[in-house]
């Protein structure tokens, strides 16, 4: 039998329906692959018993001929999603031992459709990071290496475990979340596809909050078709999330025609950054040529406030985080610090949060506290929200001018070595999100598509940004780009 773990989600679905193999066989193949891949540290809580039970049940549905797309398909779930009775701790010590008695809306929807959960995936603590190095479980490792070098590379972050797991065939697909680039950057670093949908497309209920006005969940998959299938399964209105959009969810897969003739693709000149590696610039040009060859019109556009997106993000995201993370007080869930004789309630809060939060989370909570504090609220927080409005207006104007999608690089580099940024100041790490963060601030859908390898043999991604609620058209452009780029490389197995 062929190695079932190599199948795409669509191939697995079709094979299950055609009875080429069973859901329990498919699940066992993944469970064996996962146990042989501990060196990647992608899974932080394995759930083989749950997976086997779900696979058996899925098989009865498949046998009855009543199977949704994801029925019997094994998935990995980012640790940020609450999963009933299974540790869900956002890779933070402060949620040590937390087992929610409920599921997030997304995981509930996936379970109802028959998806199989293989386990929980590594990530940066509270999704704050771009390299998976802030995780309390230790970092996940990129299955890709620089040629024959043994240097361990980052899978990116924050959804680094999800990216590593998909790239190494440790699940058919995975859930991710994206606040500033946390789906798209790791997807680019590992040669897979990741889409952040329009804000409000996917319910945030039961996903541990980082910055509520920016957070969106989305799929991380082996190809664009899989992203279309899984996005549909994750989307939909949820009364439990007041920002969830009450809009019909189209059949995204059916919209993948590959025909993009007449589409207008914008290339924003502000994304041509000083010091951008030549390989990235060349890849960007090649991507534009591929879309032109497929019949699209390429147009230079301007998004003048791009430069201010990262600084605006580093006011808004920490401000919202400082508010969201106030709930970790050692009272209702998670960890409480050991107290000394005579310690009062403030000592309990302060000690619990000092030992429960890692350095990056502490830093962001404190920056957020500062920008929201009396006397600074207008100068920082309100100013950042005004700049955010201008960033969104840049996109609105481009789309009003007839632009259908915008093509940019996904990241300013390929995957870097774990520990290489250890002595850099925090701002250096933040620059990883320079091409992706605008999309969160404007609430738009953005997808990262693997488009080539650099001279070190590492994958590089291109990003496509679409109009709000037009994920179907956006994925179709991505599909056309994917076919033209013909990216088929897989990491050589060393783990």
């Amino acid at each position: 039998m062929t190695d079932l773990t190599k199948l795409t989600l669509a191939q697995a679905r079709d094979g299950l329906r055609a009875k080429d193999f069973t859901a329990p066989e498919l699940t066992e193949a993944y469970l064996a692959a996962i146990d042989a891949a501990d060196a990647l540290n992608a899974y932080v809580h394995k759930t083989p018993e749950i997976a086997r039970q779900q696979a058996e049940f899925a098989q009865t549905r498949i046998r009855a001929g009543m199977s949704p797309d994801l029925c019997g398909v094994p998935l990995g779930i980012k640790d940020l999603f609450c999963t009933n009775g299974v540790p869900s701790q956002a890779a933070s010590r402060i949620l040590d031992g937390f087992k929610p008695p409920y599921d997030s809306t997304v995981t509930e929807q996936l379970h109802k459709q028959g998806a199989v959960m293989l386990g929980k995936l590594n990530m940066d603590e509270f999704a704050m990071g771009s390299s998976n190095e802030t995780s309390c479980y230790g970092n996940a490792v990129n299955p890709w290496r620089r040629g024959n070098e043994a240097t361990a590379l980052t899978p990116g972050g924050s959804s680094g475990g999800s990216a590593a797991a998909v790239a190494a065939d440790l699940c058919a697909a995975a859930t991710g979340t994206d606040t500033g680039g946390s789906i798209r950057q790791p997807a680019a670093f590992t040669g897979i596809v990741g889409i952040k949908p329009t804000y409000g497309r996917v319910s945030r209920w039961g996903i541990i909050a980082f910055a509520s006005s920016l957070d969106q969940a989305g799929p991380m998959t082996k190809d664009v078709r899989d992203a279309a299938i899984m996005l549909r399964a994750m989307s939909g209105h949820d009364p439990k999330d007041s920002t969830s959009a009450d809009l019909p969810v189209p059949d995204f897969e059916a919209m993948l025609t590959g025909d993009i003739r007449g589409k207008v693709i914008g290339l924003p000149r502000e994304y041509r950054m000083d010091g951008m590696p030549g390989e990235i610039e060349a890849l960007w040009h090649r991507g534009a040529e591929m879309l032109r060859d497929a019949g699209a019109e390429i147009r230079d556009i301007s998004l003048p406030h791009t430069k201010y997106a990262l600084p605006a993000y580093y006011v808004i995201a920490p401000a919202e985080a400082s508010s969201n993370l106030a709930r970790y007080d050692g009272v209702r869930f998670g960890r409480r610090a050991k107290l000394s004789q005579g310690d009062g309630i403030t000592d309990m809060y302060e000690k619990t949060r000092a030992e429960g939060f890692g350095p990056e989370v502490q830093r962001r909570v404190m920056v957020g506290t500062y920008v929201l504090s009396a006397g600074f609220y207008d100068a920082y927080y309100n100013r950042a929200r005004k700049v955010r409005a201008l960033i969104k207006r840049d996109f609105d104007l481009a789309f009003a001018d007839g632009i259908d999608a915008i093509l940019t690089p996904a990241t300013p580099s390929s995957a870097f070595g774990l520990g290489e940024m250890a002595n850099a100041d925090p701002v250096q790490m933040y620059l990883n999100d320079v091409f992706t963060v605008t999309v969160n601030l404007a609430g738009l859908p953005g997808v990262s598509v693997p488009a080539g390898l650099d001279t070190k043999g590492l994958p590089l991604g291109l990003q496509l940004i679409g109009r709000p609620w037009d994920e179907g058209d956006l994925l179709n452009v991505a599909y056309s780009l994917e076919r033209a780029a013909g990216f088929m490389a897989k990491p050589a197995k060393w783990w």
Binding site: P239, T243, P311, R332, E350, R353, V365, A389, L390, G443
Partner: protein, 95 residues
């Protein structure tokens, strides 16, 4: 604007995160680097721009004001580090 040790101490206290005295100068320098980066926002002309409140133009939905859930004391207390007699337990708050 330079963040001094005193400001770092104040922010840590507001955020309810204990920071040891010897860590404060380094923390102040980190804040300084981040806030220096943020200062770029002062270059932008924001005259007459409304601060964004919602990224998609939507009205928050209303729902019926009815009880839809409840009687889950055991589940609510399940994850508490210290729960006693149906309550969350904390150190003494009032003397």
């Amino acid at each position: 604007m330079a963040i001094d040790t005193e400001t770092a101490r104040k922010v840590a206290r507001l955020a309810r995160i204990r920071v040891e005295e010897e860590r404060l100068p380094a923390l102040a320098r980190e804040f300084d680097a981040i806030l220096g980066f943020i200062e770029q926002l002062n270059e932008v002309d924001v005259e007459g721009v409304e601060p964004m409140t919602s990224v998609t133009p939507m009205r928050l939905k209303r729902r019926q004001d009815v009880v839809t859930d409840g009687n889950r004391q055991a589940e609510v207390l399940l994850n508490a580090p210290d729960a006693r007699e149906g309550f969350f337990a904390v150190p003494k708050v009032v003397e």
